[in-house]
Symmetry: C2
């Protein structure tokens, strides 16, 4: 059993395996608590022996209440299976996968906001963007092809559990465009050139904020699609903001402008 | 000479040595270019042989125009001295140190904004906050005691060169409070409880936004000082934003509210 779990965890380091199995690894005490609280289906739990006697004891009990027996193993073995540099000693394998666009549930209210991530490479940035989208009231985050795998352990961690509470979809650029056209969602692409986000008229339409790659921005194909460009105005001489910071500011400003 | 440089670089991995020598390491082609452009004094440059023949050739020339001979060494040796996991092949040692508060130059205009970092531990977050403060028009960033070393290589990198263009000071909590009192700067502490930043009256006073530790927030001692609490309002059920994202939103909102 323990051997099988080791094999599973190693397998889940590969994107293809995460996709095929519909499983992700949630590492860290807080994150595993979040998965439980959010009602996610935890299929396995691994705890380092020292954590099982200490800060992780409550989680071992929680798992047992849910009919799941936590696998307790020596700290050294735990660390070898963990993804972080200083593992807290608790990890869980959770049933989770992003939705396809035909499965997302759109809220009735007009003026809703979605986030579209177009080619952001850094998993920490992608997870942080998902965390912001959830906290700032977006109803959906879509990761387009070319974006870091939303099932990756660092995305799940950086999202601080938001992956378990927020609708996340994956789609190709074409699929997203078809969906947005059908649903009447306007695409607003973040970039260096664009309307300053603090000077927007009150918004009534449904919007998707499109955030592109850290270096190159969103894909060139947007220029062939109807869209609006927006930007965070900056001091002269300043080059750019961190992609996740800019996304947070834009999402917050779009929620302010909503009327 | 090359041997001395190796010794220096290893020495600069220690906080004490960076402080004593007044030097920081800027790693990455873009960052070294930024240091040159910002007029920072580059005292040594190290380039991997493949980079010297390729993308780093221009920087080697630039250094030479400035009377600095770049040290070119085999890629394997370069990587052993580099701080990043996938080094670009260029690094520079730059004269740089944070100011003390009696050396900062305050702008004449009223309503100016400063950022005070109170105990943020993650160097990437600290650097990203400095980058945001500069880009969003703050005139000063202060790192209080208990904050990650602003001279650290990851802070310098995450700031994307903003350390070379922006006033950065270090101070103890008491020093900052005395300075702020004397200068008539109001401290606004970011936290979970507080006035929503999007509902502020137009601002005329000079403000310092105080951002605390990722987990615990700003130090408890603020409660004994006159201050105002502000927050980024979030969706019910959402726990928090990434500290650097929240800082970006608050700085941007404070600049919007300025009048």
């Amino acid at each position: 059993m323990a051997g099988n779990l080791h094999t599973l965890l190693r397998d889940l380091q590969r994107r293809k395996a995460r996709e095929r199995r519909g499983l992700v690894v949630a590492e860290g005490r807080r994150l595993v608590e979040d998965a439980f609280e959010a009602g996610a289906r935890v299929v396995a739990m691994l705890v380092a022996d020292d954590a099982a006697r200490g800060a992780g004891a409550g989680l071992v009990e929680e798992a047992s209440r849910r009919g799941l027996r936590a696998e307790i193993l020596p700290r050294r073995e735990f660390n070898a299976l963990a993804d972080t540099e200083t593992p807290s000693g608790v990890l869980a394998v959770v049933e989770w996968q992003p939705l396809s666009l035909d499965r997302v549930q759109r809220p009735d209210a007009g003026g809703c906001r979605a986030l579209v991530i177009d080619g952001v490479q850094d998993p920490g940035n992608v997870g942080t963007m998902i965390r912001s989208a959830f906290a700032l009231g977006a109803w959906l985050t879509v990761a387009l092809d070319g974006t870091a795998d939303v099932r990756g352990p660092k995305v799940v961690r950086s999202s601080m559990g938001a992956v378990f509470r927020h609708q996340i979809a994956t789609a190709t650029f074409e699929e997203w465009c078809a969906y947005a056209d059908r649903e009447g969602i306007a695409s607003w692409v973040a970039g260096g050139e664009g309307e300053p986000v603090n000077a927007l008229e009150p918004l009534t339409e449904s919007i998707a904020l499109v955030v592109g790659n850290e270096g190159q921005g969103a894909r060139a194909a947007w220029s062939g699609r109807r869209h609006r460009s927006i930007t965070v105005p900056m001091r002269a001489g300043a080059e750019s903001l961190n992609a996740a910071v800019a996304t947070g500011i834009l999402l917050f400003e779009l929620s302010r402008a909503r009327r």
